[in-house]
Subunit: 439 residues, 2 copies
């Protein structure tokens, strides 16, 4: 499978490219997703169905190449069907199968596939029994949901009244499912996923994410340049977030254990090139990584926060079982409390200010000593929007760690809104502690 020069493109699309280029080592099936409904168009409802289906299809080796959302309007639904079927082998649609008059997906699909609607007795029975269980007589409008196009196969909906429908046109498949996520998922997981996996060529896709922080995307790219040359059959995607840059390796093939071994090999190479800027793998958060290290080293931690106002402690305590190593925190928002609760000298505050290297160090030693922990982590800074000066602008923070290996202090500058500064500063402080623990 030759890779194009664009090494940073994730594999799914590069699979797509291959399929399209006719570079047919694998004869890859492609999918499109259509979500139908005014709620999604208006932005009132987030389109979680499309994300779910993409991920599920990814695991059975069917990449999604196109997503379309349209309202409950026949001409748009028809356009979407046509566009999606022109490039994809499998089209999955959600929405517009309800009992009310604005639910027209089924009608449009029936016309599109030159199919007639007829009553499906099994479906009608299922709908009736659902209402009976709730002690309600079936409203007349629900009978409409038992009308099924004669050229479509019915997909049982264990969670609701609207069945899924599967149309075939040559080798192409179009599937209608209800928009209610619970119902859609029940139909998809019920039998559809397996059926589509059977159509797929047996290609497996596997991913592994390495999470970095404190290093710009472009610097990572430079460091990984030698690696990208030997990437061979995988792809590497850069996913920047406010908390760092995630690196996602994707690998595909017919043998799952082979892919998995190869991914491990590639991730080992990246780890070698990047070293300890990588703090976690896959879903592991910074606070989990820090919690893991504290557990390994059997150390207790306290924190003292100023500008981040409790966000460090909040993140640390998001990890179940954190109470074993985390004793507590002092949030000293006012200078008075920095003196009273943490023992910062009034002279230090007067001479250097609350946002200074000196204050950060005294806070770290103060919280560690007063609260009685092995380690003290602190941060002091200016979250804005007010309070900045030329010499000490908004976003300036000082972070310090005090512990058995001495005291470490760092100055950083973050950009953005108040909340963004809090988040970035928190990530940097936790990362500083992580590096201290790795020393």
């Amino acid at each position: 499978m030759p890779l194009n020069k664009d090494q940073t493109t994730p594999l799914v699309p590069s699979l797509i490219k291959e399929g399209i280029r006719g570079d047919e080592n694998y004869d890859i099936m492609k999918a499109a997703i259509i979500t139908i409904g005014n709620e999604i168009l208006s932005g009132m409802t987030l389109d979680t169905n499309a994300a779910y289906l993409s991920q599920e299809l990814g695991t059975i080796g069917i990449p999604v190449v196109l997503k379309i959302s349209v309202g409950d309007r026949a001409i748009d639904i028809q356009m979407a069907f046509k566009q999606a079927l022109s490039d994809s082998d499998i089209v999955l649609c959600t929405g517009g199968l309800g009992p009310t008059s604005d639910d027209i997906t089924k009608k449009v699909a029936a016309r599109f596939f030159k199919s007639k609607l007829k009553l499906d007795k099994g479906t009608l029975e299922h709908i009736r029994s659902r209402f009976a269980k709730r002690g309600i007589e079936m409203p007349a409008c629900n009978r409409w949901q038992a009308m099924v196009p004669d050229r479509a196969a019915v997909l049982f909906n264990p969670e609701g009244t609207a069945p899924g429908l599967l149309f075939k046109k040559g080798k192409k498949i179009l599937i209608l499912m209800p928009g209610v996520p619970r119902e859609m998922r029940a139909i998809f997981a019920g039998s559809l996923k397996e059926r589509l996996a059977g159509l797929s060529c047996g290609m497996k896709i596997n991913m592994l994410t390495l999470r970095t922080t404190g290093i710009p995307e472009s610097v990572i790219a430079e460091k990984l340049a030698p690696f990208e040359k030997c990437l061979a059959k995988g792809t590497l995607a850069y996913l920047p977030t406010r908390l760092g840059v995630d690196l996602r390796l994707t690998m595909s093939g017919k043998d799952a254990s082979q892919i998995s071994a190869k991914l491990q090999e590639l991730s080992a190479k990246i780890k070698q090139l990047l070293g300890n800027v990588i703090y976690g793998q896959d879903d592991e958060t910074m606070e989990q990584a820090v919690g893991r290290l504290l557990k390994e080293k059997k150390l207790t931690l306290t924190t003292a926060e100023s500008c981040t106002g409790g966000l460090i402690a909040d993140r640390i305590t998001d990890v179940p079982g954190s109470s074993v190593n985390f004793l507590g925190s002092v949030i000293a928002y006012s200078n008075v409390l920095k003196e009273k609760m943490l023992g910062v000298k009034s002279q230090t505050l007067r001479l250097h200010g609350a946002v200074s290297k000196e204050t950060a160090i005294e806070m770290a030693n103060g919280v560690r000593g007063r609260l009685g922990s092995d380690l003290g982590l602190t941060i002091t800074g200016i979250a804005g929007p007010a309070g900045g000066t030329d010499k000490k602008p908004v976003g300036l923070v000082f972070m310090a760690v005090a512990g058995p290996k001495g005291t470490m202090v760092e100055e950083r500058r973050f950009l953005g809104q108040r909340r963004h500064i809090k988040e970035s500063a928190t990530q940097a402080a936790l990362n500083m502690l992580r590096l201290y623990l790795l020393k």
Copy 2:
């Protein structure tokens, strides 16, 4: 504009239907949204940009009629441009403007509009200064982001390095924005929204949201039953979240001041029916509402948290200017710190446990006394997943407020995951303080 029976349907889609039905009282401009990027196609990233833009366009009377997501592939991006421009007047695209080689949106758009790329000095200067502020030299690849198609107008990006770009073709407009939500929103809110509102036909849609907490959706519905009858030309949507139920009133018309007056009138009626379960309006958060009351009453606050681990303080300090009233907090995760830092009696902990009414009261008085504030707010509970017993299950919390009007204590029980319990408990504690301040 006749309303359909379904009163909870948002207005935007009903406008769409009208526009489409050829019910041309209003000559409505229509928009399409294209999101570009493999992360969205693969389902790894939820498409929040499209939802945001739809909602924002809705408020200026521009309905979105089509959404397309494609990967970072030229032929697909081009197809999406073509399809979107065929039916819509305004096309908003996000994604693919980064510095790496897989970001090709700009190149594709330049070709599509027969435009050449040239260096934009202002943009280059802006990018350089962003890196300089962080004390980093600009990596070479970021220079690419300053290359701008000669037929496009540059839209300033205050939050990042990739500018927005606006192309015109006859009366149609296509806009490129970065995929990072913060940057995209900054560009849109910066000047673009106003500019597009100017193009819109003058149909105004206005919304007003009343935020409630601590009351179930069904109870609100019962209380509002008499109101819904007189809703007439507006709609009311119930939007339940983990932090409460938001009530969104929507109203449309040509006369902005008339709509606005009507919305005020309707919201006054709801306020009358629901009373002080409403804590805020529109985007106002609970922490803002509490901060506003503290400012009005010129009172200082300290907090002492156990199970919420700093989240109360974090939320309070998210509000700019909170340092005037909020002095600080003690997060006493361990019992030792509850005694040492807050003066909770060891006997109380022994007899009643850390999660008890008695401990909560002593924490509230302790933090208030020791840190020297007018008010003390505390919470102690079991966030789970471990630590629960039959008598004190996971999700049980006690909250207390101590202040000039005496001490108030409350027991609550929340369901869900650790993080959900932290969030719900925090909201309830802040709401308790709010009601104390309103007494």
